[in-house]
Symmetry: C3
Subunit: 341 residues, 3 copies
């Protein structure tokens, strides 16, 4: 296959970006400003990299109007250079799906429904009652259990597993090793031992969601676990049963959301953050990395927990004082009482 190649003028026109420079410059790829060559396109999103723009050998750069004068590259002007870059970069890494149809090694249940335009790669399994829609791609070693739907143009990378009753909207992208629809962690304690509470619900994933590598999303106990459209999960994220996540919320790597938590729309959950079960988080809430959300959040804004990093020797001295903090506060109150005239 030949590598993609565009004239700078074509890119400007295709994405409606004002061009300052020679439209006939040929662009064969994208690259960081610091190492972009004369046939490559860079971009500036932060003033931190202004010096890289100044000295860049890039044929062209995407910048805001403010930086039109910096450096020698031709310029494409964008209100948000990162978004413009995302659109242009996609041209240079075109996705090549596998061949249409079912790989001879795949094992497909007699009553499963595979659209003729779907791609089912080697060592995939599709079980009874499941449906794979047009343009969907199961790359390899994907297991689709019973009663699942994989919507049009979904892409399931190697080893993705949909266990039972998982319904994906359109254009859902799931990275390798992610597991959707496994049993929620439902246990009743009975006569000195655990009794498994059957998990009968499913998982519903909205259009344009993205699920990171080795992340897990459990099926609901009775109702479904739900991700609304355009929810983005990073790697190794755990979503427990009956969680509901609003549209356009993004959750960074290693975060954990406990059962029946309800997260609003346009939230940003930091890496390795924890969210307790049965709580509610309103729209447009940001949780910083490794914070624990232990109660519902009713007001938009940024929230945190945890303590700052210190040299271990200093940290030990301060940490021991945390265990005395209530007593310290009482001692201060006593001093205040005594100091009153």
């Amino acid at each position: 296959m030949t590598s993609p190649s565009w004239l700078l003028g074509e890119l400007a026109q295709r994405f409606a970006l004002p061009l300052h420079g020679d439209p006939s410059i040929r662009i064969n790829g994208v690259a960081p400003l610091a190492r972009a060559r004369a046939d490559e396109l860079g971009f500036l999103t932060s003033k931190r990299h202004l010096s890289a723009l100044e000295s860049s050998q890039a044929g062209a750069a995407i910048v805001t109007e403010a930086h039109l004068g910096t450096g020698h590259s031709a310029k494409l002007v964008a209100h948000d250079p990162m978004a413009a870059f995302a659109r242009i970069a996609a041209l240079f890494e075109p996705h090549h799906p596998g061949p249409r149809g079912v790989h001879p090694s795949a094992v497909i249940a007699a009553d499963a429904s595979i659209h003729p335009d779907a791609v089912i790669g080697p060592f995939c399994v599709v079980e009874s009652g499941s449906r794979i829609d047009a343009g969907a791609e199961l790359v390899s070693q994907v297991h689709v259990g019973p009663d699942c739907v994989v919507g049009a143009h979904c892409r399931l990378l190697p080893r993705v597993t949909l266990v039972t009753r998982v319904r994906l909207g359109q254009r859902v992208l799931i990275h390798p090793g992610a597991v959707l629809g496994s049993d929620g962690f439902g246990l009743a304690f009975d006569q000195g031992a655990w009794l498994k509470v059957p998990q009968l619900g499913g998982v519903v994933i909205g259009d344009d969601c993205e699920i990171g590598s080795n992340s897990t999303i459990d099926r609901g106990a009775l109702d479904d676990t739900v991700l609304e459209q355009d929810v983005r999960l990073d790697n190794l994220v755990h979503i427990a049963h009956n969680v509901h996540i609003g549209a356009h919320t993004a959750i960074a790597g290693c975060a954990a959301v406990a059962g029946s938590a309800h997260i609003g729309r346009y939230c940003l959950i930091g890496g390795a953050a924890g969210i307790l079960g049965h709580i509610e988080i309103t729209d447009r809430v940001t949780i910083t990395a490794m914070s624990l959300v232990s109660h519902s959040i009713r007001e938009p804004g940024e929230y945190s927990s945890g303590t700052p990093l210190e040299q271990n020797r200093r940290w030990r001295r301060n940490a021991v004082r945390i265990k005395q903090l209530d007593e310290l506060a009482r001692r201060v109150a006593r001093l205040e009482t005594e100091s009153k005239p």
Copy 2:
């Protein structure tokens, strides 16, 4: 296959639950009280949902004696409605194992032993010296390495991997992507580089354990890593080499247990909690979510670490004071000395 259907009187008799209402009501499923229909059974475990019981359209509900009078549904009376529900719900989601025998695609070592009543699904591998007992099911893409035992009626979901020397008791349930028996993280530092310490032990899993999706349990360095019977692990839990976990302990998602830690029986370890290596936790200890256990715990009870969530602006102001806490405590002590007559 036809859907399960029971008369309410049959359910009352089968599970020895007193019935208040018409035994001839036909129950075709279970559902939350809020959306259960006249042929469905709901249950009440929390007073929070009393209003749902009052207005429920459910044909019947499982309640404690105290709520016999609430709402219009027929009632099954249980001391613990959640446990009663767990048993009844299992009737409505019967497990259908795959066909007995070995799928033609599976790769089985010549000296592996597969019970004729076991189910070995597509793309499974069973290596040398391993044994799969009666009624065990390897759903698909399961890898069983050398010298493993999969006990009777175990169920290994897609992509479970037993690496080496893993012995499962009976009725062990392992969710997709879990890895048991991989090398522990054993390293010796020698001449400026890491030297791998061979991991020669195994993993022993007791009867009725459950292991969540993408969780990992490493094999011991010399002795075995051990989970006693009825231990329950949620998703993405990490159990390091030579850990020992007592019977009936449950560990929530994303928790991490470091090497050679010894956890007692009937413990509850919260989500994303961490347990350091070589420590001991006695029986009946509860660790709340995201707490770090850095020393042994000798007394049963509930333990926590961490700080409360706050608005980020307030959190910043308080967090900086934590770094001054030892000094603050000294200043308070000085004031106390000075204020003494």
Copy 3:
């Protein structure tokens, strides 16, 4: 296959360890001192186990010079008994690779290059343009996507996935379920929704690295994600795009490293620790378990964050005071002002 067996004198000579005792003792295995038999070798690394050495039935033990007189076993003397043990133990768990060549079930792209001395196990996939070097082993169900290199004598355990543009050095060991080269979590917010930023870089893994089970390493956005030689990752570790990790650094289980972080050489990152994006950590830094690194670290040493574990009732009383800490500090300052003469 016969089990390995060595004379104690052979071991002493092979590893240049002074021997005190009978060189003709036959050693058939290694074991902990407490249960080692007369034909087994133990070792002492900590004074904690001195009593085990005293009463040990082991045929021989590896000790430092200081403990030559303890117990009745023959002794091999080593400056670092753990390192000596690591080398000797490897003799007793020899690795038996699968048969050379490509398993008939494997699916190999026409333009992939497989060295005749490589081992490609069942249900593996190797895609276009990828290369598997001499002595490399893909155990089973391994997926190697396009444009990857698996260096000589690498070992990829079941279900390892290299997504795209992953280059492994020599002797890299990757445990089951690990995913390398999946898309970084790159998103631009545009017109009320997320826009995926194409991830075009790769992953470069140096010689002798080890990657734990179900860990994930994302490919870079434009440049590569890099692990230098001899980096060791435990299970369930997340390495985001464009991270750079220096040689000989070890990262314990469940740790998470955010995008573009730069970690030095010879660092030790504790379990479930978090490292924020775009920060720099110099060489020889230790981060204790569950600490959050929120700013760059310029000085070698040990660093921590977090609070100590307490009984939940006490913890609640102290935790509420953390939210009042800034106010408390101001009150103390006021008292100090007032107490001044």
